[in-house]
């Protein structure tokens, strides 16, 4: 006799319990959310329209001219373009500058209200030029102010819609005796007479060359080289071009064979192996373009770099090496450009993330006396937001330390000193040192925020700005 026959009640109970358990499990399984309730995380759920270069309305770049009663200053000196006369943010010959400001800080000579943004000024023949944004007129406003007292001499504005997207204005003009050139946040290029403000020509790099506006508008600053203006539209056909300063007509164009795009970086001239060339850090990679001779406009070398947002400009070291930086997690790289039998090529010497070596998010590092100086980005680990000094071989020389961190703001070298503007308008003065961070003084010169616009220095007059205000201060030594 088997066990089932021997214990029929036990067998029945076991079967019942098994059946109940099976029903319970089945019920729970059936009642559980269906796999069809799982939300598929797929592209296109944000309702964004397809990204396209939709035709946009033409802008009348001639715009409107207004004259005011400001008078140019008799102060000598100039700050003619982005990063100064030599593109390096170093003032070679300056007036003696103060080592200390005292409790009251450096004297504020004048101030002006600006539209929201980060546009920096240039100075030429006693005039301050700035591409502002007029929020009431909804217009890019090219303003000419007196270096003496900040009073406006003239302005020319053209209507263009720019929404607040981390400020509106962005760029630094370029000026010579012959022309004043600006690039607006929406990629409009305008050339004016620098004295009268008379309109010469205008180019819409989006409409005319298919340029794709970078995120947060363009930060590219124009380059005037002799009688030509160098621009980098990064459109489908033209990566870089030179236009005649008199007419705005193209002199040469560089085909965009790599298919790279416009960044916030600016074109930098340099000479390598006796060849004068323009270096540009585009979205996609870095290029060198012949700047003169019959080959002007030819692509000499290129090296890919997959950085998404590039604000700093290339830093040539003078020996064929060029340091490149980008924010948003990218870091930096050192490349070497060489010539062999008339053919140029570029190689990467080293490349690193922001935690492993020299990096910059917004402002271009300064190369001075064989060392590189920069403010590290916020994702640089222990060095985040510190002012640092690196050997070009990639070795950290010194940093400002945990207690001395800065924002995204600009910095400039003059008279053996370094001036760093913090995000909220605190100006720090250092002695430039090869061995250590050596602070001289600090002063609150602005009281707003996002003080990210580049600094200009002419004589002992320093121009600085925050999001909505520009000040002219005297940093000269008191005799």
């Amino acid at each position: 006799m088997n066990n089932v026959s021997r214990y029929p009640i036990l067998a029945a109970l076991t079967g019942l319990v098994t059946l109940l358990a099976a029903v319970t499990v089945s019920w729970q399984w059936l009642a559980a959310p269906s796999i069809f309730d799982i939300e598929m995380r797929l592209p296109g759920k944000d309702g964004a329209p397809a990204r396209s270069q939709a035709a946009r309305q033409a802008v009348d770049l001639v715009g409107v001219f207004q004259a005011f009663d400001g008078v140019p200053s008799v102060c000598e000196g100039s700050w003619p373009r982005f990063r100064g006369p030599d593109f390096d943010n170093i003032v070679k010959e300056s007036a003696p500058l103060a080592d200390h400001w005292g409790a009251s800080g450096p004297p504020i000579l004048w101030s002006v209200e600006l539209g929201e943004g980060y546009a920096g000024p240039v100075v030429w023949n006693g005039r301050v030029y700035l591409l502002d944004y007029d929020e009431e007129e909804r217009a890019d406003a090219i303003r000419c102010l007196s270096l003496e007292d900040g009073r406006e001499i003239w302005r020319r504005f053209y209507y263009v819609d720019v929404k607040k997207n981390h400020g509106m204005s962005r760029t630094v003009p370029a000026v010579t005796d012959d022309m004043l050139v600006t690039i607006g946040p929406r990629c409009h290029v305008v050339c004016l007479d620098p004295v009268t403000g008379g309109f010469r020509w205008g180019i819409d790099m989006q409409r005319d060359y298919g340029a794709e506006e970078p995120l947060w508008y363009t930060g590219q600053c124009p380059l005037i080289d002799g009688s030509r203006v160098i621009l980098a539209p990064g459109g489908p056909d033209v990566l870089m071009m030179a236009v005649d300063g008199e007419t705005g007509e193209p002199v040469w164009t560089t085909p965009n064979t790599p298919g790279w795009k416009m960044s916030h970086s600016s074109v930098v001239p340099t000479t390598i192996a006796g060849r004068y060339m323009y270096v540009y850090s585009a979205v996609g990679g870095v290029v060198g373009v012949a700047a003169d001779g019959p080959e002007a406009g030819a692509l000499l070398w290129q090296i890919p770099w997959n950085a998404r947002v590039i604000a700093p400009s290339p830093v040539p070291l003078g020996d064929g090496r060029i340091f490149i930086a980008a924010g948003y997690g990218e870091g930096g790289m050192m490349i070497r450009v060489q010539e062999n039998g008339g053919v140029f090529s570029a190689e990467v010497l080293y490349r690193h993330g922001p935690r492993e070596g020299l990096a910059a998010e917004q402002h271009t590092p300064i190369y001075y006396d064989g060392l590189l100086y920069s403010i590290m980005p916020k994702d640089a680990g222990a060095l985040r937001s510190q002012f640092v000094c690196y050997d070009p071989d990639g070795t950290l020389v010194w940093s400002s330390g945990q207690a001395q961190r800065f924002g995204l703001g600009p910095f400039l070298f003059a008279d053996g000193k370094c001036y760093i503007l913090g995000d909220t308008g605190e100006l720090t003065m250092l002695r430039i040192s090869r061995t250590a961070y050596e602070e001289l003084d600090r002063a609150q010169v602005l009281h707003g925020h996002d003080a990210w616009g580049p600094i200009a220095l002419v004589g002992d007059r320093m121009l600085l700005r925050d999001l909505t205000q520009m000040v002219c201060i005297s940093v000269g030594a008191v005799s």
Binding site: P49, N165, V309, Y328, D379
Partner: protein, 187 residues
């Protein structure tokens, strides 16, 4: 010692009871006599991720919150997108949030609005860290008052490496970031 100087046990208990009753009445009568609750100070938070795993609740009572007036409404949002994301869209492979709790919605060119799905958020702080590194820092962590059981000894406070969790009066409850004169401050 003279026995008359001694306090007997009964007198001691009586005095202690009077003192306790008086103290309790005084405490209750104070204008600020209210409960204290645990909250995260965004200025001290280092986004270590421990809030997600150290709360006695599962999922954690800590959630990401968003101060919209600080947000830049950017297309390239470092709080929403993975570093090096191939595309700026809602594909899971591009999202930084492991559970898709941060949602994005197109408003108008070039602006996007970001909202937190609290049902999904478990306080890992990945988005908060990303937002603070490149953005304005509008995303931050807070202990949700409707979820928190207000333990006497908060488990995440005990394990917080930056002492970012402290007691605040219940009537405030939160330490939201605010935009005041261009600076982030507590609300």
């Amino acid at each position: 010692m003279d026995s008359r100087d001694k306090i007997d046990r009964r007198e001691f208990i009586r005095a202690a009871a009077v003192l306790a009753a008086g103290g309790g009445a005084w405490m209750a009568a104070r204008p600020d006599a209210e409960g204290m609750v645990w909250q995260i100070d965004p200025a001290k938070c280092i986004q270590c991720g421990r809030c997600a795993t150290n709360c006695v609740l599962n999922p954690s009572a800590v959630k990401c919150v968003h101060t919209y007036e600080i947000c830049g409404y950017c297309d390239l949002c470092s709080g929403y997108l993975q570093p090096g994301a191939k595309a700026r869209d809602t594909g899971a492979e591009n999202e930084l949030c492991p559970v898709g709790a941060l949602k994005r919605k197109f408003i108008e060119e070039p602006f996007y609005e970001y909202t937190v799905d609290e049902e999904r958020c478990f306080g890992c702080a990945k988005c908060v860290k990303g937002c603070g590194q490149f953005g304005n820092g509008s995303l931050h962590l807070q202990i949700k008052r409707d979820l928190c059981v207000n333990c006497n000894e908060c488990s995440i406070a005990r394990n917080c490496p930056s002492d970012a969790i402290r007691r605040v009066p219940a009537r405030r409850g939160y330490l939201f970031k605010q935009w005041v004169s261009g600076e982030e401050s507590e609300g």
